[in-house]
Subunit: 417 residues, 4 copies
């Protein structure tokens, strides 16, 4: 599973590993080092007898935000570190991997005390899921870099699904109704002992929701272009107050990566620049844009509970990073909800907060999720940059409303009366 990180960086030139084009996007090299740092800090140092840290400065350099492990190196300056080199980071990864093998060996051969063994297994699992999160970020951060370079470099050759088939027909916007009522969302840690989930997904708990409908697919570029053509970005009544301020201050007039070439909108994809394709999902929109679009269309964004209640019944299949497309694909024409998983992260109207009874784990590892429960919104379902085996209905991703460098998109909802 860790090898996937190296596989994702295989198409890169050495120069691509170090660039940080905005504060939120880390250099690929940093992702590769930080995920190793995680294993070193939370597993090797506390549990592997005689472990020698690879380099004394790495604890500081590759700490992301764990205040319990010293002061992290300032995030906006990650792209200023030409050293360690890529080769040195790869060596660091090998060093950590070998030590992890020794630690796991000790775990399974029961050299470790019982208590430590279960903690090692728990943390190793966490470390691998953590690595998957950074595999997705590595893709989206790289897209930000390439997408802002006037040379528009190609990360990976186009594969099928990057455009709609010439004769494909959009099935139109259809809705599926849900009865609502008292539904249970979240994960019960006891009941599902064998399936991994993050702490923020539990406890399972009942939520009352009124009858509602969800759109059967996410919003397409054609629909979004109609919003734009109707003056969507210049109509204050469509926007939340903070969203309207953002549109005006940041000079927003289209999704991220869209540029106007004469009379046509183009977008940058990891396979290169191309004209916007009407039938593909719109992506790289902020929550403000998603909310304004929904208001313009006469609908609203779903709540997390509405989304999860609907998605729990659906198969976890879709267009994930595993396809190598790294771009959302056209919906099929089926009547039932599609694209719930993969393609684009779907903005919900729900603030990211603790579930009733939530408590963060004790110690530094408790900084993983809980401390971000302010000012962010929940996104559900994963995207075309998410590893297929990383996602599940209860998964809670979270970003600030203006963020849009992830593969974010829009699913419409409405009240049933």
């Amino acid at each position: 599973m860790r090898g996937q990180s190296e596989a994702l960086t295989a198409p890169l030139e050495i120069e691509d590993y170090g660039v940080q084009p905005m504060d939120d996007a880390s250099p690929p090299k940093w992702h590769l080092a930080h995920t190793s740092w995680f294993f070193e800090t939370f597993l090797l140092r506390p549990f592997l007898e005689g472990y020698e840290p690879y380099h004394p400065a790495y604890e500081h350099l590759f700490n992301s935000y764990y205040n319990g492990v010293g002061r992290p190196f300032p995030r906006p300056r990650r792209g200023h570190l030409s050293r360690p080199t890529v080769a040195e980071v790869m060596e660091y990864r090998r060093y950590v991997d070998e030590a992890m093998l020794r630690l796991l060996d000790a775990t399974f051969t029961a050299e470790l005390p019982e208590e430590a063994r279960s903690e090692v297994i728990r943390r190793t699992t966490l470390g691998l899921h953590h690595e998957q999160q950074h595999q997705e970020l590595l893709i989206t951060d790289l897209k930000y870099n390439f997408g802002h370079n006037p040379l528009a470099p190609v990360y990976s050759a186009p594969v099928s699904g990057l455009t709609a088939a010439p004769d494909a027909e959009d099935g139109g916007l259809d809705f599926t109704s849900y009865a609502g009522g008292l539904v249970e969302i979240g994960v019960d840690p006891q009941a599902e002992a064998h399936a991994f989930h993050f702490d923020n997904e539990s406890p399972a708990h009942p939520v009352y929701i009124a009858p509602y409908s969800l759109a059967n697919r996410v919003v397409t570029c054609a629909e979004y272009l109609a919003f734009m053509a109707d003056g969507g970005y210049r109509t204050p009544s469509l926007w939340l107050s903070d969203g309207w301020a953002w549109v005006n201050e940041a000079g927003i007039e289209a999704p991220l990566y869209w540029t106007r070439r004469e009379d046509e909108w183009w977008e940058y994809r990891l396979a290169g620049a191309a004209p916007v394709d009407d039938r593909l999902p719109v992506t790289h929109v902020s929550a403000y844009e998603a909310d304004a679009f929904a208001r313009w269309a006469g609908y609203r964004l779903p709540t997390e509970a509405e989304w999860e209640a609907a998605a729990t019944a659906a198969p976890v299949t879709g267009n994930f990073a595993d396809s190598g497309r790294f771009h959302p694909a056209m919906a099929g024409t089926k009547d039932s909800p599609q694209q719930l998983f993969g393609d684009v992260w779907e903005w919900t109207a729900s603030a990211y907060g603790p579930y009733p009874g939530y408590t963060a784990p004790v110690g530094t590892i408790g900084e993983y999720n809980g401390k971000f429960m302010a000012n962010q919104l929940v996104l559900k379902g994963g995207s075309c940059a998410t590893p297929a085996d990383h996602i599940r209905p209860s998964y809670r991703n979270f970003f600030y409303p203006p963020d849009r460098w992830q593969f974010t998109g829009i699913r419409l909802a409405k009240d049933d009366h």
Copy 2:
């Protein structure tokens, strides 16, 4: 009811009317003019035949944020307007009041068409509640001005309740349990046709909550000083990530208006500067501070539903603006929940969002509440600066997590198992 605005400014010098010490705090003069602008814009212009606006520039100058009524004058520059003078603003108020009397006369004598009459009554009621909101802001904005002037001017002479009685005993921190379950919160617009409420308080709707307890009083200065003495402001694990960034960037180390004089903490009150009084409620804390304090104390903040479910049964009495104290007072020693209303606005853990089925009113007046439903938290219960007849259990105030120039405070909650 409008006369209360003038009454509140009676102790002011002319110089005090124009000052805007921070972007969020408007000058008293602006509040007096803007509340009149509200009547002029939403009532006199559309409904009073032959009405001549008082001044052509006022529509622009005293518009707060209604994009449907032209472009508002930039908020941070409200304090740069030495003209109109206070006398001119008072004349504007009289002019609007007189015209409103004519309009109401036409309404009650049925000169207006039926449809217009009910709308006039609806909007007039809204305008008066709007004025009450600005009466509270006038007090808090003035406190910000005076509280940052090295001369520490006195707004009103001390009255009883500004300090705890010498022999008063704090009843200690006690909790009341609530069963939770499926409770209804919010207001049903149909059922309560005669009581005013804002659009954001409806629809009434069921919410499922687990069993919980609320503290019987709000947190005191003594308790907060213990948090500070224990290094609360220097312990990252107590803070939300955004809160920790805020503490460090803004250099926060105590509630607003607290200053250290040698070994003692003093605070500015509208009655002047005084030593912090242990038994009074702590106030002027941000949501980040409230959350960190609760975590340190081993509790948490209540959700809006928990608070409202508990408060619905309680009498709406307390220490309001009407007392003339303008400062929170010591809790009694009763066992039941106290201080739910008045004293301090209580931060909840709930994001300010639309209730299920909420729709903003059509037209410009629909900008009143709905467009602020992003990035803010709900506060409940009113404060010592709130008019007594302005508050109710369903009332939803909202501010950004770092805001603390309102009379904000902390009520602790916990799960019952």
Copy 3:
């Protein structure tokens, strides 16, 4: 001479005294208090036996920038002080004036030791010239306030000279040649013992200058409009690099106080808003604009030495604050240099630095001029807001290149070959 400060504020409403519309512009009330603080701090405290400072907080509140007298109150917050009131500041002025009379009495009746007497006289003279500087700032700061208020308040009724006479003819742009060579500029403190000058004007010293010419009048609005019509603000090759950045970042497209009304440019004057008058001098331009205009016109700005060498021979007469116009007036049609004094401060190409052999006076009073000798340019000649008896050829005013809220203008120069 001090009474002129009160006279200048006579047309103001109380509300006008407290406003600070930008960091560099202080409220009128502050100017009135600060000039009194100067006498209190540098004369009454050290020299008047038994003097009781008027208020313990004023030393902090009304210190402008003298680090030797404690920490000054932050400049950008001067407009946040609604107290002390105007009446209290006026009382402070009276208190200081009376004490100064006692001190001067003691000085002239020789109660003071000889040494102190000459210092008292020296500092009193400095304090009066300091007050004159603030009288000019009071006018320009007030203009900034009024000029940014949509109500465009009138400070003083129009008087003759605010527009050109209908039949007036502009004498055209003519130049006077100067031989240059080794000229002496600055003031010899010994030689002119009886005339006041600031420390930065001395020592007198020789400067070598090549033959040159100066324009016989300052640049008119007609000439500046031609520059604008020719795309002056959009042509990077006309601008210094820092100037071009300033134009683009600040969105500059005309002098300060100019606004476009349909097809015509209007400007705010202290007598109210009026169409730009072709034949009046252009004013409220930054050094960047002056430099770009000169380059466009094929000329350059004069150096301080060129200006002073030419002006030394000229009579110190012109359109000063004493005229009550508070706006530059049209040049006459004479062939010789006009408008050298009054009307507009003339930007020079010379950096504001110490004259050879300059040393700042010892002690806090030495902070008066010397510490500003970085990043600023010299301006010469005074303006329509300068008291007539305040100016002289050697006078060195100084502002940062982007500053333009003073009455600044442009005199062209060229090399003679």
Copy 4:
């Protein structure tokens, strides 16, 4: 001469070529490309028949600030360009070099018209001197990158001169007197037809200077440490007003690259981190620090004319980039002025402005120097990162007062009476 650019980058890893740790410091890769762009833009495109630009996007990407050649790529984002790769940039350099050889061949074989030939020679010479300037910047920008990396990478192995010999004695601070009077500085373009100089060094012109003395060497670390120990950074009366604001806002307490390790100051050098060496020159100080130090020591900074008049008689020898030390070296013990050339750029008190009669060349190439003549100060003499054959007495370098990432230092001056 161009090959020196590649030689300087030889010790680099690929990762080091792309980093831009602050807006003013460009990535090494950018320097390599931009200097080629200069030849392509100003020589190959206009003069080489049939020249095909290497890549259509490079004109935009590698334009530094020439507004006459389209809109430059934003400077602060140069470090965000992972493409073109280093290999591609090197290929670009080869491509341009080959084309330049063809152009020079055409020039010397007289295929070009006479007029073009002299212009090609003139611009080629300019291009080579331009490349030398970027060779120095490449070193200083790289030092900024390495000096802010916690790993403190070594660029080049230490060579002699990086520390003072154990038994070396500092000759103490001695001064040499100069008579001053009417001296000529600058270069007469006619008289010295064969020696290259930049446009800003001419015309030659007389300047009158009073008798003065210059220190025989630049200020040492020992002397600077004494200033620090005496509270130099905490004494406002030593600082220019803008300098004092800078010290406080930027939290300055030592020269750039100095860090405190327990009781000792260390500095980063391109040969690695080392304790500050008392007898070496202090370097990486801003003009504000230089000025404050001089005031503390009882001296002042020299003017450009004073420096140039003294240096014209001195041999242009010293510790330059050619030594491979890349750090200033200890002064000898001779009585005459030393270190005038090489070691550190010496801040003067002179604003960077045009010499009398200066005119910028016509066309885009005229943007080279003239448009920066605002807000900057002149530095003289070159540094240990300057190529030996790049410097001369009339050379005018210029930086903003707070800049200190160049090898800047302090030479003291005083008036003679």
